[in-house]
């Protein structure tokens, strides 16, 4: 529990300000902890007189020093490697070098030979290739059982995967099997100088606060990493590495899940999390016809189409295009929000974009608070002119 030394407490209220959960309050000059306390320790850190103490110490669950190396799960689907896998090899290489350990990649799929080999050129020292027709389609139970077994055998200290539909689905299973700590949706990963611990930073409360998380007593330290946040390395054909083909035991392919059909994406359902440029439309477009402008602008920019919740609810575009708290979180290079007011739920899904442009009729709309550039005006006038101007520029 969080304990307060009433003698030491000076009632400064800094803990109260720091608490993201409204669980601590200064009453009559002394801090008091309420039911909401999440034991996050944020207050302990800022308490200068040292009046706050969290006395819970968990037991160390494994010999930490016996775990070594950085592993990256590389996602392979529909005969293609997910872009985030390369980004993970980029950050994985950096972490491995900081720790002075090797970087390994694990790839699971069917007919992955060439792709598995290419991973060494992106930084992997060792590639564990699981190539079998039964793992062509993703199923949680097979994938988590296989990856957990490999991790248990080779004992890497860090395991990274993409925060994609697949990664977010089976990696929690792997962490549960291994009794390992897992942090979702990381946007920054660093090694702490003193003890080599992995510091995992992620947004919480829809991006309203950031939290840095560690796994002090267990290994491996596991994290899923948001696509588009880390930089993919250049391919280096001179890099050497080893590809190890993994044999599977018959029990490992047992499954209580059967993929009947994979409904492939039409051009309507691109993965907007992998787009560099997104043009996003909101309620301000007024109707489906108005939304057609968004498609035209996206086309002119060679970008993809996204939308706010209101537009998806209205049925102008399917759910996979929804950005925001109940949709997808995106981090493109350029995000153009058209007719989107900028409710906190929407902003949560796009505030990591490099550049945000807002076009809206209402100059007081909160979207302008997060936008780098803004135009206040009628979308039906601004967007067609913007398209013309972009096309002129391209032709020039």
């Amino acid at each position: 529990m969080l304990k307060i030394d009433k003698e030491l407490c000076i009632g400064c209220g800094i803990c109260e300000e720091q608490c993201a959960f409204a669980a601590i309050e200064v009453k009559d000059g002394v801090a008091e902890v309420g039911e909401n306390c999440n034991l996050c320790g944020a207050c302990v850190e800022v308490c200068e007189p040292g009046a706050l103490v969290s006395d819970i110490q968990g037991a160390v669950k494994t010999d930490l020093a016996s775990w070594s190396g950085v592993w990256v799960f590389c996602e392979y689907r529909h005969a293609e490697l997910a872009q985030v896998s390369l980004e993970l090899l980029g950050i994985g290489r950096k972490l491995a070098d900081r720790r002075g350990v090797s970087l390994s990649a694990v790839i699971i799929g069917s007919g992955i030979g060439k792709c598995a080999e290419s991973l060494t050129g992106y930084g992997a020292d060792t590639v564990y290739a699981v190539d079998h027709p039964d793992v062509e389609h993703f199923t949680e139970d097979r994938y988590s059982r296989i990856l957990a077994r490999l991790i248990g055998e080779h004992r890497p200290e860090i395991v990274l995967a993409g925060a994609t539909a697949i990664g977010r689905s089976f990696i929690p299973g792997v962490a549960t099997i291994l009794d390992a700590g897992l942090t979702a949706d990381c946007t920054s990963l660093e090694i702490r100088e003193e003890d080599g611990a992995l510091l995992q930073t992620r947004p919480a409360f829809g991006g309203n606060i950031m939290a840095t998380i560690e796994c002090p007593r267990s290994r491996p330290q596991m994290a899923t990493v948001r696509p588009k946040v880390m930089k993919a390395p250049e391919f280096d054909s001179s890099r050497q590495g080893e590809v190890i083909e993994v044999d599977l035991g018959s029990g490992e392919l047992a499954s209580r899940i059967r993929v009947i059909e994979t409904v492939a994406a039409g051009e309507e359902t691109v993965n907007i999390q992998e787009s560099d440029i997104l043009v996003s439309g909101g309620r301000g477009l007024e109707n489906e016809k108005g939304f057609a402008l968004i498609r035209r602008l996206a086309k002119a920019l060679n970008g993809d189409v996204a939308a706010s919740r209101a537009v998806v609810d209205a049925g102008w575009i399917p759910y996979p295009h929804q950005v925001g708290q109940t949709g997808k979180t995106v981090a493109p290079k350029l995000y153009i929000a058209c007719g989107i007011s900028g409710a906190v739920q929407h902003v949560a899904g796009m505030q990591s974009a490099d550049v945000i442009v807002a076009i809206n009729r209402d100059g007081n709309a909160p979207i302008f608070n997060v936008a780098d550039f803004g135009i206040v005006g009628d979308l039906n006038e601004v967007i067609p002119k913007l398209i013309t101007k972009i096309e002129e520029h391209r032709q020039a």
């Binding site: 993201a20 409204a22 306390c37 996050c40 320790g41 944020a42 968990g58 689907r77 997910a82 993703f138 139970d141 539909a165 689905s169 929690p172 299973g173 549960t176 099997i177 390992a180 700590g181 979702a184 949706d185 510091l199 919480a204 829809g206 991006g207 309203n208 950031m210 939290a211 840095t212 998380i213 560690e214 796994c215 899940i257 059967r258 993929v259 994979t262 409904v263 492939a264 994406a265 691109v270 993965n271 440029i277 920019l301 759910y319 996979p320 708290q325 409710a343 906190v344 945000i356 302008f368 997060v370 550039f373 135009i375 009628d378 601004v382 002119k385 913007l386 101007k389 972009i390 391209r394």
Partner: protein, 259 residues
């Protein structure tokens, strides 16, 4: 069909924001709500019950005030409600939460199907559902957008992928996490509200679920928060001025790196 729905009480997202001057979370008037995804999980459970018969049990782990969301769930059609609550659970991460819920479920008995929201909107981790399924040694699917057929021993569901969706058969008992386009949750009826008022909530403590003290709460959590801080503010924003043509010209100038 016995269905368990795991729900969570969360702060309403629209109220949670940073105070721009103090850079801390403004908490005036922050209301607690049922996690929006969990409402869809509950609705799906109630619809299945209405179609196939059976009963729906809602389970939440949280502080005593989380009873509010359980009563709301009963008002929306759940039959039984279980509050898993103990000071010893405080500080639980997703691993410890899944462990605790797993113990609670094992205390309660057998279920044919578990439904959870895709993720809670405060932590956004999407890890407790899968963790619970592993604890119970049952198969699971995440991000289910439609349950197509329900049989004796298996069901067929559509599960969202990044590039479309998969149609998947999964054996029962199973756990599914659902996305919001699976259904439109109902609002509680007057009758439901009356029922909710009178409902008896089952309370389960750490002792009642025979939890291992080393596996619950902060002590049982492999992950620990080191630091909480506000996100880096974005730079100044520039709203262009002049006629529409002039503004568009200025914007295109800025967009040149992307053209």
């Amino acid at each position: 069909m016995k269905i368990a729905v795991c729900i969570k009480q969360v702060p309403d997202a629209k109220d949670v924001r940073l105070d721009p001057t103090t850079n801390t979370l403004a908490r005036e008037g922050v209301e607690s709500i049922m996690n929006p995804y969990d409402q869809h999980a509950l609705e799906e459970a109630v619809r299945l019950k209405e179609k196939f018969g059976g009963e729906v049990t809602v389970i939440t782990m949280g502080p005593p005030q989380a009873e509010e969301v359980l009563r709301l769930a009963i008002a929306c059609g759940a039959d039984n409600a279980v509050l898993v609550s103990d000071r010893a659970f405080a500080g639980a991460d997703t691993w410890a939460t899944a462990y605790t819920l797993g113990r609670a479920v094992e205390t309660l008995g057998n279920f044919d199907l578990f439904l959870c929201g895709k993720q809670a909107i405060d932590g956004d981790t999407a890890q407790v559902g899968p963790g619970l399924a592993l604890r119970l040694d049952i198969p699971y699917l995440t991000c289910v957008q439609k349950i197509r057929e329900v049989g004796e021993k298996a069901l067929v569901a559509e599960r969202m992928m990044d590039d479309g969706f998969d149609v998947v058969e999964i054996s029962l008992p199973a756990l599914l996490t659902v996305v919001k386009n699976i259904n439109e949750p109902r609002v509680p009826s007057l009758k439901g509200k009356m029922k909710a008022k009178k409902a008896v909530i089952t309370a389960l403590t750490a002792e009642a679920i025979k939890a291992d003290p080393a596996s619950i709460g902060l002590a049982g959590s492999p992950t620990q928060v080191v630091r909480v801080f506000p996100p880096e503010p974005r730079g100044e924003s520039a709203v262009f001025s002049g006629s529409v043509d002039e503004q568009v010209a200025q914007l295109v100038e800025k967009l040149k790196p992307y053209l």
